[in-house]
Point group: C2
Chain length 584, copies 2
Amino acid sequence: SEYIAPCDCRRAFISGFDGSAGTAIITEQHAAMWTDGRYFLQAAHQMDNNWTLMKMGLKDTPTQEDWLVSVLPEGSKVGVDPFIIPADQWKRMSKALRSAGHDLVPVKENLIDTIWTDCPQRPCKPLITLDLSYTGVSWRDKIVALRSKMAERKVLWFVVTALDEVAWLFNLRGSDVEYNPVFFAYAVIGMNTIRLFIDGDRMMDPAVREHLQLDSTLEPEFKIQVLPYGSILSELQAVGAGLSPKEKVWLSDKASYALTEAVPKAYRYLTPYTPICIAKAVKNTSETEGMRRAHIKDAVALCELFNWLEKEVPKGTVTEIMAADKAEEFRSQQKDFVELSFATISSTGPNGAIIHYKPVPETNRTLSVNEIYLLDSGAQYKDGTTDVTRTMHFGTPSAYEKECFTYVLKGHIAVSAAIFPNGTKGHLLDSFARSALWDCGLDYLHGTGHGVGSFLNVHEGPCGISYKTFADEPLEAGMIVSDEPGYYEDGSFGIRIENVVLVIPAETKYNFKNRGSLTFEPLTLVPIQTKMIDVNLLTQKECNWVNDYHQKCREVIGAELERQGRQEALQWLIRETEPLIRIQ
Amino acid sequence: SEYIAPCDCRRAFISGFDGSAGTAIITEQHAAMWTDGRYFLQAAHQMDNNWTLMKMGLKDTPTQEDWLVSVLPEGSKVGVDPFIIPADQWKRMSKALRSAGHDLVPVKENLIDTIWTDCPQRPCKPLITLDLSYTGVSWRDKIVALRSKMAERKVLWFVVTALDEVAWLFNLRGSDVEYNPVFFAYAVIGMNTIRLFIDGDRMMDPAVREHLQLDSTLEPEFKIQVLPYGSILSELQAVGAGLSPKEKVWLSDKASYALTEAVPKAYRYLTPYTPICIAKAVKNTSETEGMRRAHIKDAVALCELFNWLEKEVPKGTVTEIMAADKAEEFRSQQKDFVELSFATISSTGPNGAIIHYKPVPETNRTLSVNEIYLLDSGAQYKDGTTDVTRTMHFGTPSAYEKECFTYVLKGHIAVSAAIFPNGTKGHLLDSFARSALWDCGLDYLHGTGHGVGSFLNVHEGPCGISYKTFADEPLEAGMIVSDEPGYYEDGSFGIRIENVVLVIPAETKYNFKNRGSLTFEPLTLVPIQTKMIDVNLLTQKECNWVNDYHQKCREVIGAELERQGRQEALQWLIRETEPLIRIQ
């Protein structure tokens, strides 16, 4: 999982390093930590001298396997908790070690847990049930659809291991980890059985019992057996033991080694994307309507925030942390607000150039009329998930800052307005976002977009827009992704313009091979600061796009600001959505 | 190899099917032929009822492995000539068969050869030596550079298996197969030895002996040992047998199973692209100058052709075959012309929509003033290889034809004028070529560009421009690729605009991370028919591109037409390069 619970922060416990990515390997003589460029400084700062920092991505940094082979005495055993290593990674590492005469072995009890005496408990928070008005499809119908996919692939069992897939399948949400509204659970779906592995008294909640129809008389194939979270392994082993040839069990190839091994190899059917992952990505009408509502409320909050910032920043009293807190405050005033969808990136001046920046007291900078401010933030509402970035100047931007902003905007529009055939993979659109920057020798070193869940994880597969050609699935109508090109100048500023956009059918003049075309509709409706735009760098088409977009912001968000009686923010919105005029 | 010698056309001998792609599998009971969509009709037509046609790419067509497993009695052996199956393909097939209880076995003598009594002899044509003015680098220096790459990777031996790599390494050319100026040979390069495996009396040619310095007193590490072509296997086995641990032999992973197996597995070092493939792709100044000269001569021939067609087509006497022959005739008048670089695609009207069309008497159509004509052709000159496509109308094109042509032109320009960072892979540019077509719901079902050799294969790796993300290497200055978007309407017409372009450094306003930028310079300088362009669909920038391009055609090709005294073609060129005027 991208976000984890405190009880799973074992690396931070043993090393002090609490960045979001890193692998610790400890031998009798050595302790080494692999992490990527985002965290070189932080890891060096947080770890003591006992640790060797392994800077991934640098030429001379050994891989974990190569390092192990170089330091281990002959015939060593390397232990790993089989529940926290994906099966494909186990396979790779195991092979490398074996060919050097060592062994990778699963450790029964996690060795950190045995010494972590004050380890926090695994969270077990109450569940939220989502009715049909939010989900569009009942969990029963989702099970039926899943079983039909299982029948197509001739598998008898499907193991749900990703937390957001369990939540989506049962139309339940939780709050066991921050930002992602999920809960600790597994599920095993057979053609006639449903087993849900979940702990705590959450299943005693009458609303949950009714939602899952636990006390109703149901056809047996829809009767949910509730089992303890920890019993998944033995239950899965029992399933595996009962199989006969040609009876397969479907697992994600990212499932843990422990669960994968529970099924004998001959009976495993592994795929990079599960049928749930793919179904979940294509939002139905109830979900897209919910996402629209969530984005309207989110825009209301941001109009309030930006109006407030415009007044407060010149006083020199607003810090990055305060701005982030204020954004959360305005969001929390909106209906069905649950929590933030990720840690707010609130950054001004040089901090904006740190792509994964999160303000902390040591770095907290005061917003001013002399620096660019970048806010990348989002929230979970019961009807949808948001993620929006706006870059603003509260004084007078320089010509160069406007020039860079305008190139980024051109890239944003190029993706947002792109028309492309059905079946196109997102990575084929990535260069559109960069073309205007490339023309001037500029670029940004991150992907252009990621899938977005519907009141679920803000980052989800199986689609995205990136120059890295991972095995993304083709875009289809109903998918929701972000469109977020940027430009970053180390030590000076960062620019990013991000909307969440919905894939929709496009009307085209012709229709080659009857394939049909797609395009994007922005769900995010927050003004893009026109003060930052050098209108002369826009084509007429781009200028029209901005004006149409702002017209829509004014209409849709204006009506909601009006309804909520937020007159001052409404006046701000009207000012900020004045049409651009391009002199030919 | 893409093109093969008559003695290697074993599939055509056994089945009658002579398309460029296909695999025949023959069991005691069955005979089956796998081929792709280009050849379904041709294969069905050429093969008799004993054959089952396996249409690759269709959902219900079994793979070769699945089919074998379904028809073979238990414990069968499947034989294959190990010299004509790549090692990676062997591995895949062998694994699939083994898991079903069968065995893939190498056959010592090719079974077709044992029954093909009148099999033609393997060609053994004289060699052409290329001096420094063509190659820029002597074969000695190429060996030195190769050995330094070998030292970097800590390999002791490198096996040259691709015919164009042998030719490039020794600065030799041949004519053993049509279109590709190569000769049958292998080479094995050690740190102190050079072994060239080649047959015939070609090594008796004094020019070749001098070129290779066979009779000179040389440092031993540059002394070339000439050995019979057929002795490669035993020589390589001897090399393999003499190795000690950590002494590696470098082979392409596309080398034949026979040669790969000759080296014990522990000593093999396999890569998708060899150091020769990568070095060969980056042309030096002598090569790019040669390519420029070749393209000037080629343009002269095409100006003559198009001027001739313009006069002759209205008479209704010119067929596709005649036009192709005339193109060859004009090319053959140019200095250092060697042969065509591929079979000319000369197609009019509906034939133009068949992407890999080659006119034959049964399909030969007469050019007319009512149909679009597409000519995709190229030649081998001693100084370079050409490949150019022009689409023309000799009467009045319809508004729709002009519209489609203009979208294709916009795509062509978008790639040709693209500026992109050093290190960018070609596949990231593919969507630029399609964007204008996509906007109107159109597309084309082939890649946008391929690498082009320097008086070598017209299709070469390791770079290209395609939506299929094969493992292409990044583009770098000096590489040469084609830029050839198209649009095809089944039963009506085909449009393609193809230039060969050179990757060159680009000047940009800024220089992010000091990476530097690249762009393309067209080497092909043949007018793009302005009659086919709907100027109102072009942006001013695109219009300027066309005018600048035509200005360059007029200057460079005009001067050469003048020099060659080709006044009539010169007048045609001047007419065809009149600037476009775009009314705002």
